[in-house]
Symmetry: C2
Subunit: 214 residues, 2 copies
DNA sequence: GAATCAACATACCGACCAGTATGTATGTAG
DNA sequence: CTACATACATACTGGTCGGTATGTTGATTC
């Protein structure tokens, strides 16, 4: 190695680890492959991260967190929240559709693989999901204040269901490696989002009631 | 071994493999642990299954398929489909809630782990999901004929969204290891199911239109 | 420019794992 | 009773993996 740039080294390890985890999962991710792809040696890796788990944690805390922020927090910061979510959903659909074999959502893939096996992963991933839900809930509240979202909607509950449904739709498409499933599910989700919209003609019978459980 | 019962041997291997996969995923499943738990030797295992993958395939074809059939096909074979689905959802909620650390849905766990990595798994799992969707769609059609389900509902699309949302809800609860998330999501799903119900007072504005994509 | 430390580099280790080679015992058909 | 196939049992192998011990080099400080 001619010149040294520890920050860049760390960053390239993180990104390669993210890609490796995206393709093979955390447990299927091989440090040797990450090192080969980055031209970093094992000594350098273990200088920046104490062990494989720490590398995985950092991927959640830095890469996946930023990913959700870019996709779901920033775009919903202003404008009509329902419209913005429909746009984001469309973008996400295009991203999913761009792969030959659908790999799904990196965050949810890791969540489903590791949540039951390691509380360190679980808690870190839960933080990112909570951030995501918070972004949607806040946007919906703003929509209520601006008159674009029905006032009897429980924004926290709606946000939780939206996130669950998004991951469910992506997972369904991945299971069958079939975009038609993605579009069909997306239609169901769109229908739900539309039911949150304030409209002078609509009846409140199908709106999300202020309810906490069951 | 005193007496021989090859069918029982095979069955116990299948069930132990299912449990091992449920807890650690297919790739995390260890043949040694399966053998230890069943008191079967490696020679016997490789007599019944050519390799680990064949064992995994058999778990999908036999165990997981039966599981979905028992939970989602048989109960929906008669009666009001919406009510039956709400009951099934309740039962499934109880099952998920019975674990200290939530492991989620065995079918979807395996689907998310393996679909992008192995087409053999993917196609077998897709068959089970298709069976599931078909059971719901058929039940909804019967509901339409009997007057309990809105006639303008696209039953295939609704079935697909229901399956996706169910898995999304379970996955969300697993991610946070939080039953509150399960109940919140379940409320959203219940709301969607209720929107499919035929009712003299309801307006059709939120019903699932006859649409194919987008 | 000597000392020091962060930032790498290389070689090696023990554990685990799927799979195999080879052998043995049990049931069954003639 | 013999022959043979099914149903097991045991011991071993090659490969991959995460992790470590130890050595080297580039940057920084005084």
């Amino acid at each position: 190695m001619l010149i040294r740039d520890p920050d860049a080294t760390r960053r390239s390890l993180l990104e390669a680890a993210f890609e490796e985890i995206r393709l093979r999962g955390y447990r299927g991710a091989s440090l040797s492959r990450i090192l080969a792809k980055t031209d970093v040696t094992k000594g350098a890796l273990y200088h920046h991260f104490p062990d494989k788990k720490a590398l995985g944690y950092a991927v959640v805390d830095e890469i996946l967190r930023d990913m959700i922020h870019e996709k779901w927090i920033t775009p919903l910061a202003e404008g009509n929240p329902i419209d913005r979510m429909l746009e984001t959903l469309h973008l996400e659909g295009c991203r999913v559709a761009s792969e030959k074999t659908l790999t799904g959502c990196p965050l949810n893939n890791l969540a489903q693989e590791m949540s039951a096996l390691d509380t360190g992963f679980r808690k870190r991933i839960a933080v990112v999901f909570a951030l995501w839900r918070k972004g949607i809930s806040t946007a919906l509240q703003r929509g209520q204040a601006e008159g674009s979202v029905r006032r009897n909607v429980d924004t926290d509950a709606a946000a939780t269901f939206v996130v669950a449904a998004v991951e469910g739709c992506i997972g369904m498409a991945k299971s069958g490696n079939d975009l038609e499933l993605l579009y069909t599910c997306g239609a169901g989700l769109t229908q739900y989002l539309e039911s949150l919209r304030e409209s002078d003609l609509a009846t409140p019978s199908h709106a999300n009631k202020q309810q906490k459980r069951r």
